[in-house]
């Protein structure tokens, strides 16, 4: 294998995935505004471009051209470092996520940037580092709303990380591997029936993962860190221009990451819901791209669910949030681990 070709193709792959990912982040914002608009019986953004499709571009230009304000009494290095940590942690996770079958071209995996033995752990680790972005932003801003927002967010993320980590154990037990490709390969034999959520009997784990993921990404009904009626904007109150945009992008990038991980772990990844019932249509290119289509479709459904929940549910109270996490989700997750491992030990 030619080393130069390998390096060039890998760089190209990283560039393409990053560009697609950032575009997806921008259009997730538009999707949310449009859908919440329709849920609230209004149009949402509709002026820039056809159906408001160029709105993300306009928003980006606006944020880029805004004046970058920095208050006097902030802890400068940390104030600048915080949004960088938040965004880079959100962008790293996409590097280990496989989008399609393992198809090699010049020895380079086409649909995954890095295939790691411990891909699942890498995602959990990067998520746990991402907390610092929010914690430091609130502390360095020297503003009580920011500090309260980031304290709430940190406490919430620590509490729900436990349930999140325990909820994926059932899936790992069934697969016997932490490699994301192995986790999907176990699920793609009989279509929807062998997905972990049904065939692996991980419906409860999926519920736990879903709830914990909503809390981890600070989304409604767990968006207390930025409860605008109490804390103005929470941890990013003092941020403006691109620094604010970086937090904003990190939040939506995390939503997409969580959607990708949920798809891989519970919804069969890139495998078709019909299994082998569908005839193999088209040529090899079509056969390579069809799994990517299924993957994107599943992630889209997940993002739709995110927005739907935001348009439907009210916000939790803080003690309810903590009680729900520690007294309900965590015991349920432990029980799920025990039942899953007993079932697996009994079966084989």
């Amino acid at each position: 294998m030619n080393v130069l070709v390998f390096i060039l193709l890998s760089l190209l792959k990283v560039a393409v995935v990053t560009v697609i990912f950032l575009t997806a982040v921008a259009y997730t914002v538009l999707l949310e505004r449009k859908l919440v608009g329709r849920i609230q019986n209004r149009w949402g953004p509709s002026r820039v471009g056809p159906f408001g499709l160029l709105q993300p571009l306009a928003d980006g230009i606006k944020l880029f051209l805004k004046e970058d304000l920095m208050p006097d009494e902030v802890a400068r290095p940390l104030f600048i470092l915080a949004p960088i940590i938040a965004l880079s942690c959100a962008l790293i996770s996409i590097g280990v996520i496989p989008f399609g079958e393992n198809i090699r071209w010049h020895g380079v995996d086409m649909f995954q940037i890095a295939d790691l033995n411990i891909g699942l752990l890498v995602i959990l680790g990067v998520t746990s580092i991402g907390v610092y972005g929010i914690a430091l932003s609130g502390w360095s801003s020297n503003n009580k709303y920011s500090l309260l927002g980031s304290l709430r967010s940190t406490a919430q993320m620590i509490s729900y990380e436990l349930a999140l980590g325990l909820s994926v154990i059932g899936v790992v037990l069934r697969t016997g591997s932490l490699r994301l490709r192995d986790i999907v390969n176990v699920q793609n034999t009989h279509g929807i029936l062998s997905w972990n959520i049904f065939g692996g009997l991980q419906l409860i784990a999926f519920f736990i993962y879903l709830t914990a993921a909503f809390a981890e990404t600070n989304r409604t009904p767990f968006d207390l860190p930025e409860a605008e009626s109490e804390l103005t904007a929470g941890y990013h109150t003092e941020y403006s221009s691109m620094k604010f945009a970086m937090f904003f992008m990190a939040e939506y990038a995390n939503m997409i990451n969580v959607g990708c991980v949920a798809t891989l772990l519970f919804l069969g990844g890139w495998s078709s819901p019909f299994g082998n019932l569908l005839p193999a249509l088209g040529g090899p290119v079509m056969q390579a791209l069809l799994p990517v289509f299924w993957f994107v479709a599943k992630v889209f459904c997940f993002l739709f669910l995110y927005v739907w929940v935001r348009g439907t549910l009210p916000r939790f109270r803080y003690d309810q949030l903590m009680g729900f996490g520690w007294k309900f989700l965590l015991p349920l997750a432990i029980a799920n681990v025990m039942v899953s491992s007993l079932a697996l030990a009994f079966r084989g």
């Binding site: 033995n117 746990s128 609130g138 620590i158 016997g176």
Partner: protein
């Protein structure tokens, strides 16, 4: 390649540790400790212990240090004053540290042949290997350690509940 990475992250680890002691603000010290923990994780990875490396990141850099930072933020600890320290510490401390360093170095050099060696990179301890050792050969120590942690948790709960 492996050696270069080892040197870079080893220096980063030492630099972080020195910065941890020199910084006057608790939050900067806590952040340096995170750098130390994370570069240790990279060193584990270089030695082929992939699960240990990620466990180090998730548990130490991710969970324990977040709690440290959280407490510092919650107490809003300010900058510490730099003190000169006691005379006794200077008189006894510096020779003591030097003597300890000398003893350790001489012991290390005399026993160098019997330590065996660890290679950088080139091999991998997979999670399966690790769990096989942990849950078959070392099952009793593992369970004893888990009971120890359980006792510590109960102790923390009792101590925290006493105030009310």
């Amino acid at each position: 390649m492996h050696l270069a990475l080892f040197i870079i992250f080893g220096l980063m680890c030492l630099g972080g540790a020195a910065n941890l002691l020199l910084q006057r603000h608790p939050i900067n010290s806590a952040l340096s400790l995170i750098v130390v923990m994370s570069s240790l994780a990279v060193l584990y990875l270089l030695l082929g212990a992939e699960f240990l490396a990620l466990a180090q990141i998730i548990v130490y850099s991710g969970a324990i240090m977040v709690l440290f930072v959280f407490v510092i933020m919650l107490l809003n600890a300010g900058e510490e004053e730099r003190t000169h320290g006691s005379r006794a510490a200077y008189l006894a401390g510096i020779p003591g540290v030097m003597a300890l360093f000398a003893v350790l170095t001489s012991t290390f050099f005399t026993l160098r042949t019997s330590f065996g060696s660890a290679r950088l990179g080139g091999f991998l301890v997979t999670t399966e290997d690790l769990s096989r050792v942990l849950f078959r050969n070392l099952l009793l120590p593992f369970e004893v350690a888990s009971i120890l942690i359980l006792v510590a948790i109960l102790g923390a709960v009792v101590l925290a509940g006493k105030e009310r």
